[in-house]
C-alpha cells in the first residue's frame, strides 16, 4: 500500500491536474523527495532554499499539522494521507 498525497490547486500544474498522487512510505522529507522525482519542480514550492518548509505552506499527516509532529522527519506509513494546503486562509 502506498501513501496518498493531496495536491492543492496552485500545485496541480506540476501533477497534470491530479488532485491526489501516490508515493512510497518514508519520512515526510523522503515523501516530498519522491514527489519531486515524479513531478520535477514541486519540491521547491514546498521547501525553501535551506530545505525547510515554506512559511506559507501547511502540511498535514492524516489531518494533523506536521509541525505538531516531527516536521519533515515525521514517519509516513502505508495507507497514510498527506495533505499540502496553502496557509493563507481563514479568519479576518
Amino acid at each position: 500500500m502506498s501513501v496518498t498525497v493531496r495536491i492543492p490547486g496552485p500545485l496541480r500544474r506540476f501533477t497534470n491536474n491530479a488532485d491526489k498522487v501516490q508515493v512510497e512510505p518514508g519520512d515526510l522529507g523522503a515523501v516530498i523527495g519522491e514527489l519531486d522525482s515524479q513531478f520535477p519542480g514541486i519540491r521547491e514550492r514546498i521547501l525553501d532554499e535551506d530545505g525547510a518548509m515554506r512559511y506559507f505552506v501547511n502540511v498535514y499527516l492524516n489531518g494533523e499539522d506536521v509541525r505538531f509532529l516531527e516536521g519533515l522527519e515525521t514517519a509516513v506509513s502505508a495507507g497514510d494521507e498527506v495533505s499540502i494546503v496553502p496557509a493563507v486562509a481563514g479568519g479576518a
Binding site: P10, D65, F68, V85, P86, V88, A89, G90, G91, A92
Partner: protein, 410 residues
Amino acid sequence: MAHVLSLRCRECSREYPVEPLNVCEFCFGPLEVVYDYETINRVVSRERIEAGPRSMWRYADFLPADYNPRTDINAGFTPLIRSRNLAEELGLNELYIKNDSVNPSYSFKDRVVAVASAKALEFGFKTIACASTGNLAGAVAAHAARAGMEAYVFIPADLEAGKVLGAAIYDAAIVAVDGSYDDVNRLCSELADRYPWAFVNINVRPFYADGSKTLGYEAAEQLGWRAPAHAVAPAASGAMFTKIWKGLNEFADVGLIDGPVETRMHLAQAAGCAPIAEAYADGRLIIKPVKPNSVAKSLAIGNPADGYYALKTIEASQGSAVIVAEHEVAEGAKLLARTEGIFTEAAGGVAVSALKRLAESGAIGRDESTVVYITGNGLKTVELVQDVVRPIHISASVDAFEAAVDARVS
C-alpha cells in the same frame, strides 16, 4: 467603479488578475488588492465621504467591490462612544469605544462579508461559504439571505449555541465539523479547490479582508478626522488588526488625516490561544501554531494566517501584544457592561482586559487618545457570563419583596 488594478503577492510581488484567488502560485504568499491610489486621491474628500451613506459604503472609493444593493444589509458606521465610566475606572481621559457589536448580524464580520458577498456576485458565484469561529457564520448567512445566494458555513462542532443559532436562522446550511477551527479551515481550504463556491475567507479573501479597513476609516472620521494615539483590538487570524492599521495609513496617504500615522497598535489575545502575542513576547516574527483551549472561541485560531503581518504591524506602529488570563475574558465583558452599558462577547472581553492592563502598566498614558474595538455582541456567548444571573426570587407579594430587599441591603 472600484479603483482596483490587480492582485499582487505580498511576498514576491507577482501580479495576478482580479479573480477569485488568494495565494500566489509561486510562493504561496497572500495576494493583496492593488488599488489605483492616483484616482482615489483625486476623487476622495472629507465632504464626499460625509455625504455618503451611513454605512461602510461611505468609503466605497477605498473598497475592492462595487456597492451592490442586492447584498447590502447596512454594515458598518457603528457608534464611536466616548467613555466616561470605564475611562475613569482605568484612569484615562480620552477613551473611545468602537461598538461594532451593533452591526446587522452583531459583529464586525458584516464589514468583510459586505465586500466578499458583493464581490462574489460580481464574479458570478451562486453560493457563498466560510470557515468560521461563529461570528463569520452569521454574517455570511445573513448576507446570503439578502442576496438570494446559497450559504454553507463550516464551524467547529463545539461552538456556542447562540452563534450556531445566529447563522441557522438565516436558513444557511450549517456544517459542524469535529475538531478545532484550524481543522475546519484546513477542510475548507481543500473544499475550495473542489466546489465552485465563494469561500469568503479563502478564495475571495483578498477582497474580503479589506472590508476591515473601514474599522480604521470610521474611527478616524468619528474622531474628527484624526488617528488615535492608541488602538486596542482583539486578534484571531490577525487580519482585522492589520487592516485597521492599513485603513488609518491609507487615510493619511491621501491626505484625509494628517500623517504620518502614529497610532500604537495593541493586539489582544487570551492565554488559551495566543500564538501571535506569544511570538511578540518571545521577540519572534515566526508564529508557532498552538492547539486552542480558550473560552474566547471567536479568537480560537491556533494557526493564524495573518499572524506574521500582525507582528509586523505591531513593529511598524511601535505597539504591543497583550495576553490576558482566561478568567479575565469574562471579567472584561462584565466590566464593559457594568461601566458603559455595552454587552460584548468574549473577544470584546479580551480587548477590554487588555486595555485595562495597558492603562495600569502606563503603556497608555492618561491623556493619550485611545480606541478600543468591541467586535461582537454578548448575546452570542451567554455561556461566558451565565453566573451574573442571580435573580431575587420571590412570591408575588409586597411583603416578600420588602423582606428580600431588606436581606439584600443588610
